[in-house]
């Protein structure tokens, strides 16, 4: 149980110009953290073994695959947001990888340069690059940023000095003229990816990539709906982990493994295998993304005997709830279909954003949850303010609701534990 190791690849890290001694310490810490949070869970599905291995190989095996792709001339592109159309990267034979940004460990490195009172995810990500302690950051050809928040868009200007950073403009409204701009941005993105790949994307390439991505989303949708079964056949921590791994694994293999796991979960449901236990309070999480290895809220909630059955988040349903229309033909139409799909994502950076309020309530009903914990990263103004509307909607529907604003540091664990337990007591009464 305690013998979990994130595999070391010091030679490869050195070749990637990483700070190897420092990174090695982080590797050991993360291994311990993973063993404690994950391997201690009782009754995990066998299908989780693949995802455990994805963590063991997070800084090795998967990075090797990226480097191999690069030697074949395939582009490797780092991203931070679910608004970047991955289909285009795949169609060009490239790899899209979500970059590190979920750990307190790199925040002090960022704070040497960036202001302290900005989003912890932005600080963490910047710190990983600045301190050379993320192999993905070291391996990418470039980073594709977007304009979904002020902290990010201004940080790209600074990050560009450390790693080439291109920016896709994501509008703030969804009027026809905004969609037109967005569609132009999707075209520019395609041109940029083609330039780096040294290849023109054909309609056939793009159609195939759209299928791959849709299948990945369908697998995640399937997993999500199995989690909604009562009693749930898999822990919320494991569910979240798979959603996190979705951002760096090879999509076809990942899809297959998620579907294998879902087959197992269907058998579990038939045999009435419950995780953690029948009668556990069911909680849905809504809000900002929880990037690997941010398992703070899930650890607290499930440590208190409840179970999380849904994440309404970018690392969650926002990533996979919408599909691209596969029936469209002609490059321009296909790019418009991509824009159409990506504009359905209901990030709080948009105004108005009524769809999200409806979506949160819908996911609450679908998931059979008994309460909502709305989670916002500190200094994430749009999610923090949109909280008011989510709270009002929950009050109107008499849904037990709690809001948590937090960052990656452990200093508020005591208070959060009290709040989570009191929330569960409240639901129980």
């Amino acid at each position: 149980m305690s013998s979990f190791e994130i595999k070391p690849y010091p030679e490869m890290w050195k070749a990637l110009d990483m700070d190897v001694p420092r990174f090695d310490k982080m590797r050991l810490m993360m291994g311990d953290m993973y063993a404690k949070a994950y391997l201690s869970q009782p009754n995990r599905p066998d299908g989780m073994a693949y995802f455990d291995n994805m963590i063991a190989e997070i800084h090795g095996g998967r990075v090797k695959e990226l480097l191999a792709a690069k030697t074949e001339g395939r582009p490797v592109i780092g991203t931070f947001c679910v608004y970047i159309p991955e289909e285009i990267v795949l169609a060009a034979g490239g790899i899209c990888v979500g970059l590190c940004g979920g750990s307190q460990g790199s925040v002090p490195d960022a704070e040497k340069i960036l202001p302290r009172n900005i989003c912890p995810m932005v600080k963490s990500a910047f710190g990983f690059k600045a301190a050379r302690i993320c192999p993905y950051f070291q391996a990418v050809d470039f980073v594709y940023g977007e304009t979904t928040c002020d902290a990010k868009k201004k940080t790209w200007e600074i990050l560009d000095k450390l790693v080439p950073t291109y920016v896709m403009e994501i509008p703030q409204c969804k009027n026809p003229r905004d969609i037109a701009l967005w569609n132009e941005e999707v075209k520019d993105f395609k041109a940029k990816v083609e330039e780096v790949a040294g290849k023109t994307i054909s309609e056939t390439d793009l159609a195939a990539a759209i299928k791959v991505m849709n299948n990945k989303r369908r697998a995640l949708q399937r997993l999500n709906s199995l989690r909604h079964h009562n009693p749930t056949p898999i822990s919320g921590k494991d569910g979240l982990l798979i959603e996190q791994i979705a951002f760096y694994d090879e999509p076809v293999r990942f899809t297959e493994k998620v579907n294998d796991l879902c087959d197992e979960l269907e058998v579990r449901i038939k045999n009435e295998v419950a995780v953690p236990a029948t009668g556990a309070t069911r909680i849905m999480v809504a809000g900002t993304p929880m990037a690997l290895p941010n398992w703070k809220i899930h650890t607290l909630v499930e440590g208190a005997g409840a179970v999380i059955v849904n994440e309404e988040s970018c690392i969650g349903t926002r990533y996979f709830k919408d599909l691209v229309d596969e029936t469209v033909t002609g490059m321009d139409n296909m790019l418009a279909a991509l824009t159409d799909r990506y504009k359905e994502i209901d990030c709080s950076c948009f105004t108005p954003n009524n769809e999200r309020i409806t979506q949160v309530i819908k996911e609450f009903r679908d998931s059979g949850a008994q309460g909502i914990i709305n989670y916002s990263l500190q200094f994430c103004h749009t999610y923090n303010i949109e909280e008011i509307r989510i709270r009002q909607a929950c009050e109107a529907e008499s849904i037990p609701y709690m809001f948590i604003e937090s960052d990656y540091s452990p200093e508020d664990i005591g208070q959060l534990q009290t709040r989570v337990e009191a929330f569960l007591e409240l639901i129980g009464e």
């Binding site: 604003e405 937090s406 540091s409 200093e411 508020d412 005591g414 208070q415 009290t418 709040r419 337990e421 009191a422 007591e425 409240l426 009464e429």
Partner: protein
């Protein structure tokens, strides 16, 4: 005999409930190992059940407790016992401030709690008292006696302390600064209450409710309602835990 123990960030409180009334109580400093303090308090007693609450509730449960509830539930039970008609609680302890809404049956229907910083907590008052060279007892009394109020803008413990130091060095009498510190905490509590919503009566519990200036200022900020303080406000959580122990055993 049922016992409730509240293992708080600053003190450990024990309430002994005999089924009808509070028979005994003890309050000691938390020390380094609060659960050992609690064990000492229990020695020689033969309770039917022990329920713990407060920051040390889980570690205590590993050693001796029969049940565990959060401070929020414990304060609700304690206040419901003292004031059955009261539907709103402000609890300010060493490390946290909380506002709690109760339904007519005395169950928690909603609550809010401060997040990671010490703003608006007993610890904040303690640090400010130290910075003005008051003991805690003098601090509240001096603030209450002060007529004139200056304004403290920062609620962050670190920044507020700098603000207090610069006030001291401008020659502002320390009683006035003390008043301002209390007033800023009362403002924060009043705004937490406004967010949560409150009834006609607000019960003030936790150690900070022993501070007469805090009680007076909270009443002043909320003129339309009645602020009540239970006897032994810092024992409210322990009493609630003892009542819960009696109820479930």
């Amino acid at each position: 005999m049922y016992i409730g123990i509240d293992l708080g960030s600053r003190t450990v409180k024990m309430a002994v409930w005999d089924g009808e009334r509070l028979r005994d109580y003890k309050i000691v400093e938390s020390g380094f190992e609060p659960h050992r303090q609690a064990e000492k308090m229990l020695s020689g007693l033969m309770p039917k059940a022990v329920v713990t609450t407060g920051y040390g509730r889980h570690i205590a449960a590993e050693y001796f407790a029969d049940g565990v509830i959060t401070e929020i539930k414990a304060h609700a039970a304690g206040i419901f016992h003292h004031f059955p008609d009261c539907t709103t609680i402000v609890d300010v302890g060493g490390q946290d401030s909380k506002v709690i809404a109760l339904n007519a049956a005395g169950k928690v229907s909603n609550f809010q709690m401060n997040d990671k910083c010490a703003a608006g907590t007993g610890r904040f008052l303690e640090i400010m008292a130290g910075s003005l060279a008051f003991t805690l007892a003098e601090f509240g009394a001096a603030a209450l006696a002060s007529e004139q109020e200056v304004q403290i803008n920062s609620m962050c413990t670190v920044f507020a302390e700098s603000e207090v130091i610069s006030m001291k060095n401008r020659g502002i009498p320390r009683e006035h600064i003390a008043r301002a510190v209390h007033s800023s905490v009362a403002d924060r509590l009043a705004s937490m209450l406004a967010r949560l919503g409150y009834g006609e009566m607000v019960a003030f519990s936790g150690g900070v409710a022993r501070n007469p200036c805090m009680v007076a200022l909270l009443q002043q900020k909320l003129p339309e309602i009645q602020v009540v303080v239970p006897e032994l406000p810092d024992l409210t959580g322990a009493l609630g835990a003892a009542l819960y122990a009696a109820q479930v055993s």
